[in-house]
Symmetry: C2
Subunit: 400 residues, 2 copies
């Protein structure tokens, strides 16, 4: 350690390269600071600012541009302390003279489509929601980015794969698989970054609340190969809908066997419906809805989170209830799906989610046919706060 | 695709969650825009700013806080266009009324210790340096983060492993291994992010300039388990030297067999010096220097990049040349290392690097003993621009 510290001293006195300069700035404030009472203090060292505000989802969830003012101290540092916060992963940014920027004292940040936000986690005690999203001193699964061939799409594509703790050690053991799908604007990094999937699984497995499982996070934008910047389209600006790229050759559900083929060939998986789950959020809930009814008997556990529930053609203006009541194709597919007796058909959504009506329509259809399902309604809307809750809840129910 | 676009329309008109708001902002400027003549235009939509500047390593490499002024147009958007730039990966940030922030229109960014910078790549033609750092339409290797036991350090630790294209397909084939070490302030993510290691290897392998190889990027901070935020120490602010954590139980070189044991057990590697290379930058060059002489005959290819060359005790004020001339332990180790006839001992450094004198001392020692080595001197100093160049140069020489 002494050797390392001496080297640091050398580096600190050395001629600094541009990319490393900011560390040599005079004052290093701590921001955010999570206080013992679960209040949070933000600090920004910006002596010449006229106004500094913080905007974040802890202020008033779901309300646009709710801000709180930071106050400048005699040392030039601006501060603001929140009320005690509930355990959660929170997102925020600063407005300095009205200009949005991230907290320069906080290296932790998430990207959602084209927007970065600073993040922090509040946790009060073991097992609360903040703890569940934290990296704890428990065995960790490995996360890899793998490239696979999708003949159906004519593309080489990337996905994220989580293998549970001990997967490398227990070379004879096979594991069940959860396919976990992102929403519009996301990609194969969304669940592992915004969704804290590896942390949730590590923590649930460590406490015996979830079975050890492989979690596969594919890319649901069938006209792209991978997350922006990680394939040959260059460093483009992401947008909802995949932007400028040519239309895909096939849908997610049509190309889904390519994903499963790769996973079943390259990982030690347990096959069959009892060992295969699929879930997704929003567009990925739609992918789950369509894929699971296209391949009845393949998936024993099915989870729709804030799901984009629609039938064949979304530009069809016919009300969803009428479509469900009249489409013989839909009714046949659902009959086949439930004839195969999936162990769990799970629908979760927030009470203010803009997609709740079509989810209600689906529930009414399931009720009318006597198809069993579980329903989980939370407060809030179409937000990651809810999707992390749904993943944790759903994962506990799998493969048991 | 039509389905996806309709969903987008639904989402755009929906009640937006805080974390997704920024995408709904009125004007979306393109920044940075790489122009056909390799000049680059920066844009910031910030009507009320008084001054906007850009600071970046393309302005005058290595000079602190060289800035260029953006000029405001009638639409409120600030712009600045550079001279045509040489092919390279560049870093920059904006100063808005003197406050540093990243480019909000550019999602691409790198973290170096505690500082994020926006990045972009300029490339003029196939095979130039910018092209080498880009994700091209070539076969890609897979990148994984694996946890391994280090009994020597008493820790479970994480490293990054790149496996070359076709590794998954050619299940009978074994591959040589390069151990690639980061510098002080870095971690197991440094080479894969700042260093563009996967892109460099993909592109060199695709063009036949490098042999397919496994690249192992361990964490060289022996008192931590993983990159900040990815282990149980919480979301702390990184600093040079590993900060607040207890002293490690052993050095990097002492614990290095734990890394090799894991890699040789869990990956299909070719063993022996002819198939084993080690290199590193700065502190990681020091790790390479010490590890390779501690285990003579283990490493056939040895690369010191801008290396922290020192002998046993860095607080020893004795001039390095005198230490090398008088330490029988050092001389014995180097004699054993070169008696095993490594295929390549490679020293690379920039002409203004603050570590050049100790590297010169090492070269004088090697010359005095007649130990063969290659020397590669570039312009510039202790910067990632040079380390990417050295990796590409070194990788081409391996396992041939």
């Amino acid at each position: 350690m002494k050797r390392i510290l001496t080297l640091v001293a050398v580096l600190l006195t050395a001629h600094a390269a541009v990319a490393q300069q900011a560390i040599f700035q005079p004052k290093q404030v701590v921001s955010p600071e999570i206080n013992p009472d679960r209040s949070v203090t933000f600090r920004l060292d910006c002596p010449k600012a006229i106004t500094v505000q913080v905007v974040g989802d802890f202020l008033e969830s779901g309300v646009k541009y709710t801000t709180a003012d930071l106050v400048q101290g005699e040392d030039g540092v601006w501060t603001y302390t929140t009320e005690p916060l509930e355990p959660e992963l929170y997102s925020y940014s600063f407005l300095v003279n009205g200009v949005r920027m991230l907290d320069p004292a906080n290296i932790y940040r998430n990207r959602d489509v084209a927007t970065w936000t600073s993040i922090f986690i509040v946790s009060g005690k073991k097992g609360d929601r903040g703890d569940l999203y934290s990296v704890n001193d428990v065995p960790h699964g490995n996360v890899q980015k793998v490239w696979y061939e999708s003949p159906t799409l004519g593309l080489t594509r990337r996905m994220t794969v989580y293998t549970p703790p001990q997967y490398e050690k227990n070379t004879k053991e096979r594991y069940p698989v959860l396919y976990l799908c992102h929403g519009a604007g996301g990609d194969e990094n969304a669940w592992s970054e915004l969704g804290r999937a590896a942390q949730i699984l590590d923590n649930l497995i460590a406490t015996g609340q979830a079975k050890p499982m492989i979690v596969v996070m594919p890319n649901g934008n069938c006209n792209t190969e991978a997350t922006p910047g990680e394939w040959s389209a260059g460093m483009y600006q992401p947008s909802f809908g995949g932007g400028k790229f040519p239309q895909p050759k096939a849908t997610m559900q049509e190309s889904f066997p390519d994903i499963m083929n790769y996973v079943e060939k390259h990982f030690r998986v347990l096959k069959g419906a009892a060992n295969t789950a699929m879930c997704g959020l929003s567009m990925g809930g739609g992918h789950t809805f369509h894929t699971t009814k296209m391949y009845p008997g393949k998936f024993g556990y099915i989870g729709l989170f804030s799901s984009a529930v629609y039938l064949g053609n979304r530009s069809d203006k016919t009300p969803i209830r009428e479509q469900m009541a009249t489409s013989t194709e839909f009714q046949k597919e659902m009959a086949a799906l439930f004839a195969a007796k999936p162990k769990l058909y799970y629908i979760a959504i927030g009470e203010t989610d803009f997609l709740i009506d079509s989810n209600n329509a689906l529930r009414e259809f399931l009720d009318s046919k006597g198809y069993p399902y579980e329903y989980f309604e939370t407060s809030g809307g179409h937000i990651w706060v809810n999707w992390r809750i749904y993943l944790a809840d759903f994962a506990k129910k799998l493969f048991k």
